[in-house]
């Protein structure tokens, strides 16, 4: 029900002006009275025993206020993991302590040994250099598959084989093996989904203070979910009363997953602020961001897909080693399991699927959710298999997909689709997005160009990726059954002010997604009022009752639904007030376009007048309370399942191996759209993170556990001149189970893009007779050049 056309319109963002004029308010912009600054002493080694830490000289340095080491924190808990995954045999996953400062051993390069607090950052830096740490370097292990081998160095002494857990999902392996044995063709792929560094451009920053008068802490944090940080820090780490802690996430400069997690520094600064009685601030340097912000991906996988003689998929068998790094980060355990294994149905009718995951500790930075989180890994696996199988069987990759797609279903007339891997898809029209993508591309023309290019000594390639993801995280009952230690509902409060202006309080958090615009659009549309009369408040645990934050493309699907529930309550009460004013029965009042009207009459009253009446009632019915302010919680009944088709066209230079991305067509179906401009922007940004993985990015550790490309001089982020303009299209298959019919758009681009690019490069290579099965991402010129030397 749209009442004034704001829903669906490309409204310009209301939050932009403060950012374009330099008046944003990021955590590092905040300087509190009596501010102090923290700098960390960190391990240079990936794995080393701490022999001694001598802070005596450092403590005498100018401006130094305090220095704390692991010994000072022996009684303080570590940061927890929020998702419990059990071993195949039912045992609980291994979950070693992740301390705020390490006292015994460093387990990855960058592990924090001491915190130095001084009057200025420069003084803290000087003093940190004067902290004398004696360490004994120990052998380390970096690679997940090697870490489980007998004799591998142990990350945690009480985890004997470095396994956090092993896990299996899908059909019994015997059934999958039997189906595979009937296959006319089996495509096998051994591959690496490389480790990525999220690289939000704003480095993580925290500023924590303690007020002895009120005995209250305030933590400013560059977090995607301030309420969750408060809950985890109070209840699980510091044991301080939750109502005595205010957590604020002001403007946050990008997150992409890396700012979901409860990091050790947040809790440590909060602990220190009370110890020293002054606010403590720490902002990560970029080199620290590389070493400490939770990384993404890092899977080593063997995947096999069996086809019958007609090209129908019979079975999928997957074995993955997932590298979790040195400690379990907040959501790390669910990424290779419930966000990866559960997506291996893809868009296809594969009748038998078995996925087996071993999650492993190594002497590396912890790995957790990074844009897409598990779903890019699942999509990469499936879509690489599909295109490779098409090449091996000499069939068209688009045709192979059409042959195997789940037929269209709307989730209303036709039921949802039950997968072999635990999920039930809500609605989908998968062949629709591929058809549209092929039309936008001009597929036949591009194939002709490919042949012509081959005639001219050039290699042109076309690569496909038709993806699905599970978003709108999350239905609490389902994720609870899967091991999540919290329900993942959302809250939304709508407060109508006496003058008819509206304040909306959401537990979702915007760090670039534009909630201040889209949520205002929804509210203004439903209440029939002007956009500028709505303010959206987020990111402050004092202002917003509760929230689970923003990740997993959940904000509108879950947070927006909570707001809709509150709007329904506002309208319901408004009808009662209108009935009173108009001397009619509430049942006879209709609400549309901002007016309450007695059915079949011209008697009506505007929203603004109802608002004023709600707050200044002189004569009011006994059963009606004053005020017009409602709060709601929304717990979705299912995930949402956006999907789409991405097609890349690349040219490969035969002499140098350089890949040029010529075209990228993306058709995404994210359900109903509130603001197409913002959705398109999300798709663009997502695409470039996927393209970044395919062509440019990858964390590189050496055998000593040093991250060798931990700077922007070495880690290759996509730049403006690396990319073409994108060709985006859309299809709308509404979500049948939430009130706005929305599915979420934050991760789609990243999930779909990487396999499309790699498939395109491999297609280009095959067109020149280089029949390679796999290329390790990122597809550097060197790697492609080596592939060009192979003629099979």
């Amino acid at each position: 029900m749209s009442t004034n056309g704001l829903i669906g319109r490309a409204v310009k963002r209301v939050e932009d002006k403060r950012f374009t004029t330099g008046h944003g308010n990021y955590t590092d912009d905040i300087i509190l009275p009596q501010q102090t600054y923290a700098v960390f002493v960190r391990s240079q080694y990936a794995h080393a025993k701490i022999i001694s830490v001598d802070t005596s000289a450092a403590k005498e340095m100018p401006g130094v206020i305090a220095i704390f080491t692991g010994a000072d924190l022996a009684e303080v808990n570590g940061v927890p993991c929020g998702w419990q995954v059990n071993f195949k045999n039912g045992d609980t996953m291994k979950e070693p302590k992740h301390p705020l400062l390490v006292a015994d051993k460093a387990r990855h390069a960058g592990d924090a040994i001491a915190i130095v607090i001084a009057e200025t950052k420069e003084q803290a830096t000087d003093a940190a250099e004067a902290v004398m740490v004696e360490m004994e370097e120990l052998p380390c292990v970096i690679d997940a598959a090697k870490a489980v081998q007998p004799g591998a160095p142990l990350v945690h002494d009480d985890v004997p084989d470095n396994k956090s857990f092993d896990w299996v999902l899908g059909n019994p392996i015997d059934e999958v093996n039997e189906a595979m044995s009937r296959a006319a063709h089996v495509t096998t792929l051994d591959f690496v989904n490389q480790r990525l560094v999220p690289n939000a451009i704003e480095p993580r920053s925290y500023n924590s203070s303690y007020d002895p008068a009120s005995e209250k802490y305030t933590l400013y944090t560059s977090s995607q979910n301030p309420h969750l940080i408060r809950l985890l820090m109070c209840a699980f780490v510091l044991g301080i009363p939750e109502h005595k802690v205010r957590v604020v996430s002001p403007d946050v400069g990008g997150g992409f997953g890396s700012k979901i997690f409860h990091y050790t520094e947040e809790a440590l600064l909060t602990w220190c602020s009370k110890k020293i009685g002054r606010p403590v601030k720490w902002t990560s340097e970029r080199s620290e961001s590389f070493l400490l912000d939770a990384h993404g991906r890092d899977h080593v996988t063997k995947a096999e897909m069996g086809f019958d003689a007609e090209g129908k998929i019979l079975a999928l068998r997957v074995k993955t080693y997932a590298n979790l790094g040195a400690y379990l980060s907040t959501f790390s355990s669910c990424v290779p399991t419930y966000l990866h294994g559960t997506l291996l149905q893809g868009l296809y009718t594969t009748p038998k699927i078995n996925v087996d995951v071993t999650a492993v500790f190594t002497h590396t930075t912890p790995v957790d959710a990074y844009r897409g989180a598990g779903r890019p890994e699942a999509t990469y696996l499936l879509e690489r298999l599909l295109d490779l199988a098409a090449h091996e069987m000499n069939v068209d990759p688009a045709e192979l997909r059409f042959k195997n797609f789940i037929p269209p279903f709307d989730g209303v007339q036709q039921p949802g689709y039950q997968t072999q891997v635990a999920l039930q898809y809500d609605s989908g029209n998968y062949e629709g997005v591929l058809k549209k993508g092929l039309d936008m591309l001009g597929y036949a023309d591009v194939r002709r160009q490919q042949q012509e290019a081959a005639g001219n000594g050039k290699l042109l390639g076309v690569g496909f990726s038709t993806y699905i993801e599970a978003c709108g995280i999350a239905p609490s009952a389902i994720v609870g059954a899967l091991g999540c230690r919290a329900g993942l509902f959302e809250s939304g409060q709508v407060r109508v002010q006496p003058t008819g202006k509206v304040s909306v309080y959401t537990g979702a958090h915007s760090h670039g997604q534009g909630h201040e615009t889209t949520f205002a659009q929804v509210v203004a549309d439903k209440l029939g009022i002007n956009l500028e009369d709505v303010e959206v408040v987020h990111g402050d645990s004092e202002a917003v009752a509760f929230g689970m934050g923003t990740y997993g493309s959940r904000s509108l699907a879950v947070g927006g639904s909570a707001i809709i529930k509150s709007i329904d309550k506002i309208i319901e009460k408004g009808k009662k007030i209108a009935a009173h004013k108009l001397e009619a029965s509430a049942d006879d009042i209709e609400f549309a376009s901002g007016r309450f009207t007695v059915k079949g009459t011209d008697k009506s009253v505007g929203f603004g007048e109802i608002a004023l009446t709600a707050y200044v009632p002189h004569v009011y019915p006994k059963d009606l309370e004053p005020g017009l302010d409602f709060s709601s919680f929304y717990d979705p009944t299912n995930f949402t399942y956006p999907f789409g088709c991405h097609i890349a066209v690349v040219e490969v230079d035969k002499e140098t191996g350089k890949v040029e991305l010529k075209r990228f067509v993306a058709v995404d179906d994210v359900g109903n759209v509130i603001n197409p401009m913002i959705v398109e922007g999300q798709i663009h940004g997502g695409l470039v993170q996927g393209i970044g993985q395919a062509l440019f990015e990858g964390a590189e550790y050496d055998e000593n556990g040093q991250l060798t490309n931990a700077s922007y001089m070495d880690y290759c982020l996509p730049r403006a001149d690396d990319l073409p303009m994108f060709e985006t299209g859309s299809q709308v298959t509404p979500c049948p189970h939430n009130p706005l019919g929305v599915k979420g758009a934050g991760e789609a681009g990243t999930i779909g893009a990487a396999p499309a690019i790699v498939n395109a490069v491999i297609d280009a290579l095959w067109s020149g007779g280089h029949k390679v099965k796999d290329l390790r991402m990122p597809l550097t010129s060197e790697r492609v050049w080596h592939a060009l030397q192979e003629v099979i």
């Binding site: 932009d16 374009t20 403006a720």
Partner: protein
Amino acid sequence: MNTSIHVTVNGVQYSHMVEPRLLLVNYLRDVLRLTGTHVGCDTSSCGACTIHLNGKATKCCTILAVQADGCEITTIEGLSHNGELHPLQEAFNECHGLQCGFCTPGMIMTAADLLQHNSQPSETDIRHALEGNFCRCTGYHNIVKSVQYAAEKISESAVAPAEVKA
């Protein structure tokens, strides 16, 4: 050991005693409290700290405050005049050229430098000019469009008075 510097920032003259090792970006952010200039990397790689130093786009995270002595500086806060936004500031809103906003000040300052020297840049010119500024949110697509839009607006406003005269 502190050194005296005199700078003009956004048209206002300042004199301060500063530590010789104080970076210009920290002088702007922490001393003058002009926090629109951001630090994304501290190695001149990401461009979030781009300002205009004597009229030229400059990454100020690897310049010492003392090196700016006697210089004229414009930061993002000084780009609009009398409450009127610079065409680039309008364009970034019009074309959705920003999401989280963290890279935006640097991106706009770099683009402003480009448009001063090249009033009708091609897409390639724009992408090349911005290659020293990272954005992790937008995929650059709408940033390129924003700069194109601003270039058009600037050239329209330059043409407009002539039309009035005619």
